[in-house]
Symmetry: C2
Subunit: 236 residues, 2 copies
């Protein structure tokens, strides 16, 4: 495991700053995970009503702006190079992915609050599988980021395939149902958007994994396949 | 108009580098616009078959990686501050938006190549309006970026509202048709994804406008309303 070593700088202040931005990213990640959890509750259990998500979403947006501003300050004052510079750049990208995950969660919340989607009972099982995969992947991606562990990051990125499988399967069910009964069209369309948002969250979690590899290995793996990404991680 | 002034640095080399990354962003933007144009052709004219998009998409991804790498080099070697630093940061964000626009265009191309969508004739008019609005907005956003013109950027960002209107209208037509006839379900679902991708491209074009305001005004306006954004631009 290639974990991030601390205390390498003459300036302890600088070490503290780098540690600080990483911690803030993890705080933001935790908030995004909570938002997602709150958003999916009414989808998986029709007895629950969705809680208020707006203040939480605003806090996430605010954290994104704060962390970005802090990154700019570090770039201007500390002029980091090599791995430190890559960390600051990766943080900027990771928080953008987290913010987009927050947006998708908000969209899921809005859709799962609409009565049509509350009739999602026939899809409970498929939805639950997809939600669990997405939540699991996001959690592990944040963990790989916390530990700056490139090997784990590649394994986590690979999970996107099983999310795509669940996504495709659920979409096919929804389309079949719409063809069976016009009455199911509106409900199914809402669930299609929810399903799509979940799949997009998986993509953003995979991006976070790519940012980890970039920091640790110095290699931009964004447009490589998972196998090529794994080769890059094992290369050095 | 607050255009970007050149020749402010003792090092002409540095000026050239900053000019160089801006130009590369515009080259990338031009390629993304072309990709989008190629993607929508089969949608708006059923006699046309889609051209090969893959090589173009790969070139766009490659440009994103190259520009990002060049930005890192500038950060490490030149240690820019103030507006120069903001320009480098904004370029990093803008190319990420351009890459995502490229992805949406690719998705549109894939969908519009499927025979179901070729039967999109009843929606020609609505689709054409939406496509024209999206293409117009993207083009003007890139122009505002080229000239680093914050006032224009705000005006362009405001166009996202009319795109959302066209998007909502088209969605309602598609859902009504699916309810009318089960035979139309598959075709309409494909067109829903296309419509959604076009709407997302509008969002990314709006992001590019926000990056322009950030460079020129030093203010992060990402989570503000358009009116608040305009206030920020007029403040100084």
């Amino acid at each position: 495991m290639d974990s991030y070593r601390l205390g390498r700088h003459i300036s302890h202040q600088f070490d503290n700053e780098l540690e600080n931005i990483r911690n803030r990213v993890l705080v933001m990640g935790g908030m995004v995970e909570e938002l997602l959890q709150m958003a999916v509750v009414p989808l998986l259990d029709s007895n629950e009503s969705p809680e208020k998500l707006v203040p939480r979403d605003e806090k996430i947006n605010q954290l994104e702006v704060e962390i970005d501003e802090f990154c700019s300050q570090i770039l201007a004052r500390r002029q980091p190079t090599a791995r430190d510079l890559r960390l600051v750049i990766a943080v900027g990208k990771a928080i953008s992915d987290l913010e987009r995950i927050g947006d998708e969660a908000k969209m899921i919340a809005r859709k799962s609050d609409e009565s049509k989607v509350k009739e999602s009972r026939p899809y409970y099982h498929q939805l639950r599988v997809l939600v669990q995969r997405v939540q699991g992947m996001l959690n592990q991606a944040l963990d790989a980021f916390a530990r700056m562990d490139a090997e784990t990051a590649v394994e986590v990125a690979r999970q996107d395939e099983s999310i795509d499988d669940s996504y495709g399967e659920l979409l096919r069910s929804l389309i079949n149902d719409m063809e069976d009964s016009p009455k199911k069209v509106r409900r199914s369309v809402e669930l299609m958007w929810v399903t799509r948002s979940l799949e997009r969250i998986g993509d953003h979690a995979a991006n976070i994994c790519e940012h980890v590899v970039y920091v640790v290995k110095g290699k931009d793996v964004r447009h490589l396949s998972i196998d090529e990404m794994e080769d890059e991680v094992n290369k050095y």
